[in-house]
């Protein structure tokens, strides 16, 4: 009898579950929930679509205060903090800004917990000359209310505004030039920090790009110090910038950070949070839809219905008012590099999901928030940075999407900008993008003009505006995505001109977008949905 030949399969390869967080859509799968700005979509995906879910939250530390104290007393590669303190010394506590975590966590923020412990310790050791500086770099300055929320009323009252303030990258007297690296990269850092006997950096590591030398070297620098690495060539050479070992951005920052360490005494405190972004009534948003209870479905329908009735601004306010229920899962202190290494292990433990094989079509729901629009609007440039920047770069090994594949984003792409937070974005979008989308041309022809625009500088310094050069950085952030992806389609964009300006195509619905993508990549594509948020990173085999 002739031996039966194995069946030759066409189309998608046979499935073997690579990770508990990876699910394949079949005949009886539930429709999937996708964010589309401030709305929630419920979409039936084609059979065979791979859905990658974030890992469930790692259980938070039972006693964060004890963990922080332990880290301060048992630091890596340096003496315990108490042993470094002397009466009369000058100490600066630098702290990550509002771009982390996302959305802002329920109070008390982990930064408040750490700073309270630090201040007790400093006080007990006779250290009075203490300033707290928000390491906002060229991000917008935090408002007083945001600063108060971050550290609590007690610290705010005692330190604000004279000893608790935002870093000012444009203060002519507030920046010190530390030197240049062997690659001619200038390192300019906040004067108060440089002139302190000890800088204590309080970090939150939300994504692996954060932390390490980036904290001081970027958080407390000026425009000239950002230019060497916030540029298109560096981003193109980063594969990806969420994977520090293969990130040219990280290499440059580390080189500059080594120079910082030569001149400054930095005691680094890094923390890792779990991904409990949604909890309580919104916890269902983190769940696999196949495992929804009737109550979950009811809550989803009620939420979707309510959101459908509200105007965009009200929905935005509502979402921004819901804090995340993150919990501390790790805290290390000491020298920057070993601390960061330890924290990265915990970050990847929380975020990385094993994924086998690249996709032809990658679907991502773009939520209402990014690091650059807390309490504000996710404008078109930020939609771009979420898609081509963050979502594309959430991998280790190789991108989830094949070279030349199609990325489908779900977002309304409204043509709205926050005039207080993003004034230079408006000019960038309306004046520069119609002329060119070439990042190199934009950098060489226009970046300095925007960076030195006196109005934008004053709005950054006196108001709450991102620096004039920031929209350029956002465009560069999408550069390796732009080089890799063949086509971007925005499903549900409410206008045609915003996607067109970004170089994208528009589809009325996700179904239409998938049909358009199929006509581009072929009839039997591998489709993957990355079920953000919360954050999920693909460990690509």
């Amino acid at each position: 009898m002739r031996e039966r030949q194995p069946k030759i399969l066409r189309g998608p390869v046979p499935r073997r579950k690579e990770d508990d967080q990876v699910v394949y859509i079949d005949n009886d799968s539930a429709p999937r929930i996708l964010f589309s700005g401030e709305d929630l979509l419920l979409e039936d995906l084609p059979i065979g679509t791979r859905v990658v879910y974030p890992k469930p939250p790692i259980e938070g530390l039972a006693n964060p205060g004890a963990a922080i104290r332990y880290a301060l007393n048992h630091p890596l590669d340096t003496a315990p903090l108490y042993a470094q303190l002397m009466p009369g010394m000058r100490v600066t506590i630098a702290v990550d800004d509002i771009s982390l975590p996302l959305p802002p966590m329920a109070t008390p923020d982990v930064r408040q917990t750490i700073i309270e412990i630090l201040l007790e310790l400093l006080d007990a050791n006779g250290v009075d000359d203490v300033h707290i500086v928000v390491a906002n770099s060229l991000h917008r300055k935090m408002t007083e209310a945001e600063m108060k929320r971050m550290v609590g009323a007690k610290i705010h009252e005692a330190f604000y505004p004279d000893r608790y303030y935002n870093h000012d990258a444009e203060d002519p007297d507030g920046i010190v030039h530390l030197g240049v690296t062997d690659k001619n990269e200038p390192v300019n850092i906040n004067r108060r920090a440089v002139e302190s006997d000890l800088v204590i950096y309080v970090n939150i590591n939300l994504v692996p790009m954060d932390g390490g030398h980036k904290s001081v070297t970027v958080g407390l620098c000026d425009y000239d110090s950002l230019r060497p690495h916030h540029e298109p060539e560096t981003i193109r050479a980063s594969d990806s910038y969420m994977d520090p070992k293969r990130s040219a951005l990280n290499t440059k920052v580390e080189r500059m950070g080594a120079l910082v360490d030569k001149h400054m005494n930095v005691f680094h405190i890094e923390t890792a949070l779990n991904n409990r972004m949604f909890a309580g009534p919104t916890a269902f948003l983190s769940k696999n839809e196949d495992e929804f209870t009737e109550f979950d479905r009811l809550k989803f329908e009620a939420m979707k219905w309510s959101l459908g009735k509200l105007p965009a601004a009200a929905k935005r306010t509502l979402f921004h008012a819901i804090p995340a229920q993150y919990q501390l899962i790790a805290c290390y202190a000491g020298k920057t590099e070993p601390v960061h290494e330890k924290i990265l292990v915990r970050c990847f433990e929380q975020y990385a999901v094993n994924v086998r094989g690249q996709a032809d079509i990658l679907i991502c729901g773009v939520p209402y928030i990014s690091p650059y629009n807390v309490n504000s609007i996710l404008n078109p440039l930020l939609v771009q940075v979420m898609g081509l920047g963050y979502f594309h770069n959430m991998y280790r090994g190789k991108p989830v999407l094949k070279k030349g594949g199609v990325m489908i984003l779900t977002h309304p792409c409204y043509d709205e900008f926050d005039h207080n937070h993003h004034p230079s974005y408006i000019e960038f979008f309306n004046r520069l993008l119609p002329e060119t989308r070439d990042a190199m041309k934009l950098r060489h022809k226009y970046e300095e003009e925007f960076a030195h625009n006196p109005s934008y500088i004053e709005m950054y310094r006196r108001g709450n505006a991102y620096h004039g050069a920031h929209p350029f950085f956002m465009w560069y952030w999408g550069e390796n995505g732009r080089q890799h992806i063949g086509k971007v389609i925005v499903a549900g964009a409410q206008n045609a001109h915003v996607p067109a300006m970004l170089g994208w195509e528009r589809a009325e619905s996700l179904t239409e977008a998938i049909a358009m993508a199929r006509s581009f990549v072929g009839p039997s594509p591998e489709i993957t949905l990355m079920h953000h948020p919360p954050i999920v990173m693909a460990d690509m085999e």
Binding site: S424, I426, M459, R461, R462
Partner: protein, 220 residues
């Protein structure tokens, strides 16, 4: 081609306005009775000035500068430095200094385009190291003000046309120029350059700036 930054003065770089300068002169008339009379009359006219300015800057100029009729040129000039030191200098917005400094660093020529009087503006321009300025000028006959302004009267569209002519003469590229104002009446001056900015704007200018996606700056 070069570029310049054009600034309105009152309300933009300084908190004071034309009425403050006039009130200072009124308070410092020769003789107590004249000072009291002129101060009270100025104070009583404030609602009229506000209404006229809200309606039209030209109408405001017509009814405001006539109040200078009979003032001696010598005395106005004599009081100008004192007016600057006591009233105008403390009213300069803190952000004005850094804005001008940054602008100068860019190599932009610094130009004041204001409806205030030349005698008031001169000390301020010196203090802020302004390269050029154009102001309104009172007409004097035999050393006394007639209450009329010499043409061109700097207000609204005249400011814009002065900027155009100035740019042509000085070979400036208007697309690279900046202009700063707080008032809706300066919309033409803002519209004529490539980089307009509303500074401490009134409600009408704020709304216009939002519609046109212009930066809105608070120097206070």
């Amino acid at each position: 081609m070069g570029a310049a930054a054009f600034y309105d003065m009152d309300g933009t770089l300084v908190r004071t306005n034309l009425v403050h300068a006039f009130a200072y002169n009124a308070r410092n008339q020769q003789g107590l009775w004249r000072s009291v009379k002129k101060t009270l009359s100025t104070f009583a006219s404030v609602p009229l000035f506000l209404a006229a300015d809200f309606y039209n800057r030209r109408l405001f100029n017509d009814i405001f500068f006539v109040r200078y009729r009979g003032e001696s040129e010598d005395r106005l000039r004599y009081l100008a430095d004192e007016l600057f030191e006591t009233t105008i200098k403390p009213s300069i917005y803190p952000g004005a200094y850094t804005l001008i400094a940054k602008s100068r660093e860019l190599g932009l020529r610094q130009v004041l385009v204001t409806g205030a009087l030349d005698i008031t503006v001169e000390p301020l321009a010196r203090h802020l190291k302004i390269d050029d300025y154009v102001t309104n000028r009172l007409e004097f006959v035999d050393g006394y003000a007639t209450g009329r302004l010499l043409p061109p009267v700097m207000a609204a569209a005249t400011k814009a046309s002065w900027i155009r002519i100035y740019a042509e003469k000085e070979k400036l590229n208007l697309s690279d120029c900046y202009s700063y104002s707080d008032s809706m009446s300066d919309l033409p001056m803002l519209s004529v350059v490539g980089h307009p900015t509303a500074v401490n704007p009134d409600l009408r200018l704020r709304n216009t700036a939002l519609q046109h996606d212009w930066p809105i700056l608070d120097l206070r």
